[in-house]
C-alpha cells in the first residue's frame, strides 16, 4: 500500500459474487437457446481472464444439456497488433483439446473493450481449424470499440470512461468473485 492510497477513490462494485454467478448462468442459457445442436458447441477461453469463465460456462452448459461440453484456452499474444510497440507479452499455454473444425466455437473473455484482443483471438483460432461459426461471450462489455466487433452474449454492459479500469476477480485466481470499476 502506498502512503497516498488514502486519497484514492474507492472502487465501485459492478457485480458481486451472486451477481456474477447469475450473469454466467444467464449467458449459459442464452448459449443453449442459440445453439440447437449442443454436441457441436465448444468453448474457448481467452488467456488469461476468459479461461476460468469458459470452464465455468462449460459446467453450467453440462447441467443444461446433460452432456460434457469441451473447453479449451487460447493465448493471443503472438497475434496481437501492437507487438512492436511494447515489451513482449508473457505467453500462456494454448490448449484446445478438441478439433474445432466444423464446430460452433464460443470465444469467452472477461472484458470486451477495444475489440483488438478478440480480433487477435479470431486469427489465432484460425490456425487450429475452420469452425462452422464463432460466437463471442463476455462477462463485461465496457464499450470503446476500435474494431467492428460485438459480443453475442454479454453478462453486463458497463458504460465507462477511458480513464476507468475494470477489474474482474475470480475465485480460481484472486480468491473472490467480483467485478470492480476503478478510477485510474
Amino acid at each position: 500500500m502506498g502512503r497516498f492510497d488514502f486519497f484514492m477513490p474507492e472502487p465501485t462494485v459492478i457485480l458481486n459474487a451472486s451477481g456474477l454467478q447469475r450473469a454466467l448462468s444467464r449467458i449459459a442459457h442464452e448459449i443453449a437457446e442459440r445453439n440447437d445442436v449442443s454436441g457441436d458447441v465448444g468453448l474457448v477461453g481467452v488467456q488469461r481472464g476468459g479461461v476460468y469463465l469458459a470452464q465455468r460456462l462449460a459446467l453450467l452448459l453440462r447441467e443444461i444439456w446433460g452432456h460434457p461440453v469441451p473447453a479449451g484456452n487460447l493465448d493471443v499474444g503472438m497475434h496481437r497488433d501492437d507487438l512492436d510497440q511494447q515489451a513482449a507479452p508473457r505467453i500462456h499455454p494454448t490448449v484446445i483439446p478438441f478439433d474445432i473444425t466444423g464446430k460452433t466455437i464460443v470465444l469467452v473473455d472477461d472484458v470486451l473493450f477495444s475489440g483488438r484482443t478478440t480480433r487477435a483471438a479470431l486469427d489465432a483460432l484460425n490456425d487450429f481449424g475452420r469452425p462452422k461459426r464463432i460466437q463471442l461471450a463476455v462477462l463485461i462489455d465496457r464499450g470503446h470499440r476500435e474494431l467492428p466487433i460485438r459480443a453475442d452474449f454479454v453478462g453486463k454492459n458497463v458504460p465507462t470512461s477511458l480513464s476507468e479500469r475494470i477489474d474482474v476477480r475470480l475465485k480460481e485466481a484472486e480468491g473472490e468473485d467480483a467485478v470492480y470499476l476503478e478510477k485510474k
Binding site: 507487438l83 513482449a88 508473457r90 490456425d127
Partner: protein, 314 residues
C-alpha cells in the same frame, strides 16, 4: 516476466530471471511447432538478416526457420558470396543491411565481440549466433530448455561438459547459463583444452573422465574445434577418443538416467560412440527441435520492447 533488451549479445550479462523468461516463452513456441499450422504473425513485416561470416548450417537454418515461422522476411548472407570478399568492412556491410531497413541482424563471426561491435552503432537489434570462442547464447538457452524439459528443473543438477572447452563458445555460454540457474557444472577434457582458469567461472575442473561422468545428471559432449586450434593440443584423435570419448564402457558407469547432449555437428567415433549418439538417453535431435523454439522465443522477445517503455528505460 522480464525482458527489456534490444539485443541478445551474450549469456554472461543475463539474469536468471531473463533466462527463465526465454525458456518459458520458448515452451509456448514449441507448442506452435507441433500444430498443423506452424506459423504465427508475431514478426509480420519485419526483416531479419542472417549475417553469417563463419560457416554454419544448423544454427543458420534454425534461425531462418524461426524467423519464417514468425512471418518475418529473411535475408541470408554468407561471407563466401558477399562483398566482404571484395574488401568491404564488417561495419560497412552491416550499415548497408541496415539501409535496407533490416530490423534484426543475426550475426555469426569468428571474431570475439563482433556482435557487441555491431550493436554499438546499429539501430537494428543484434543477436549473437556465435562469436569466435566467446559465446553462443542461443545454444546455451536451448541446452537449458532441453535439460529443464527432461529433468523438470536445472537447480541442483550435476552437468558435466566434456571435451574441447578452451575453444568452445558453447561451453562458455553453457557455464554462464547453468551456473546462474543453480546447476553444478564440471568441466573435463585434456588439460591443454581445459585450463584451471575456468574455475573462476564457478565450475569444477577435473581430468578424470570416469569421475566426471559418474555423478552427472547431464553429459554434454563437445566437438574438437580443429578450426580454432593454432597448434596441436593433444597427441592424436585416437588418443583423445580412447581417453575422453564417451564409449559403452564409460556410459555403463554413469547414472542410468543421465542424459547425453551434443550441440552438433557430432563426430561419430571421436567424442561419442556412434551407438550412444542414437541411444534412448541421447537427446541430440531434441536439442535441434528445441533450438527452433528457443530462437523463435528470442526473436519474439527482442522484437518487443522497442516502444516508449524501452526508450524511457534507456
Amino acid at each position: 516476466m522480464s525482458w527489456n533488451r534490444k539485443h541478445l549479445l551474450d549469456i554472461e550479462s543475463l539474469t536468471a530471471d531473463e533466462i527463465t523468461t526465454v525458456l518459458d516463452t520458448a515452451r509456448a513456441f514449441k507448442a506452435v511447432g507441433e500444430r498443423a499450422i506452424k506459423k504465427v504473425p508475431a514478426l509480420r513485416g519485419k526483416t531479419v538478416v542472417n549475417l553469417f561470416i563463419e560457416p554454419s548450417t544448423r544454427t543458420r537454418i534454425s534461425f531462418e526457420l524461426a524467423a519464417l515461422r514468425l512471418t518475418a522476411d529473411v535475408i541470408n548472407f554468407t561471407a563466401e558470396a558477399s562483398s566482404l570478399k571484395k574488401g568491404e568492412t564488417l561495419k560497412d556491410t552491416a550499415r548497408n543491411l541496415e539501409a535496407l531497413n533490416a530490423d534484426i541482424i543475426i550475426i555469426r563471426h569468428s571474431a570475439t565481440g563482433a556482435p557487441h561491435f555491431l550493436s554499438r552503432f546499429l539501430a537494428a537489434s543484434v543477436i549473437n549466433a556465435g562469436d569466435g570462442a566467446h559465446e553462443h547464447p542461443t545454444q546455451a538457452l536451448l541446452d537449458a530448455f532441453t535439460i529443464r524439459e527432461k529433468k523438470g528443473r536445472i537447480e541442483g543438477l550435476n552437468v558435466t561438459i566434456l571435451g574441447d572447452i578452451l575453444y568452445s563458445r558453447v561451453a562458455r555460454s553453457n557455464i554462464w547459463a547453468l551456473t546462474r540457474l543453480g546447476a553444478r557444472v564440471t568441466l573435463c577434457g585434456p588439460s591443454t583444452l581445459v585450463p584451471r582458469v575456468f574455475e573462476q567461472m564457478g565450475c569444477r575442473v577435473t581430468y578424470n573422465v570416469d569421475e566426471a561422468v559418474a555423478g552427472a545428471d547431464i553429459i554434454n559432449l563437445l566437438r574438437i574445434q580443429h578450426e580454432r586450434q593454432r597448434k596441436t593440443m593433444f597427441p592424436s584423435i585416437n588418443e583423445y577418443t580412447s581417453l575422453f570419448g564417451l564409449n559403452k564402457a564409460r556410459l555403463a558407469r554413469t547414472k542410468p538416467d543421465a542424459l547425453i547432449m551434443h550441440p552438433g555437428p557430432i563426430n561419430r567415433g571421436v567424442e561419442i560412440d556412434s551407438e550412444i549418439a542414437d541411444c534412448g538417453r541421447s537427446v541430440i535431435l531434441e536439442q535441434v527441435t528445441n533450438g527452433l523454439a528457443v530462437r523463435m522465443a528470442v526473436l519474439f522477445l527482442i522484437n518487443g520492447g522497442k516502444g516508449p517503455q524501452e526508450v524511457a528505460a534507456g
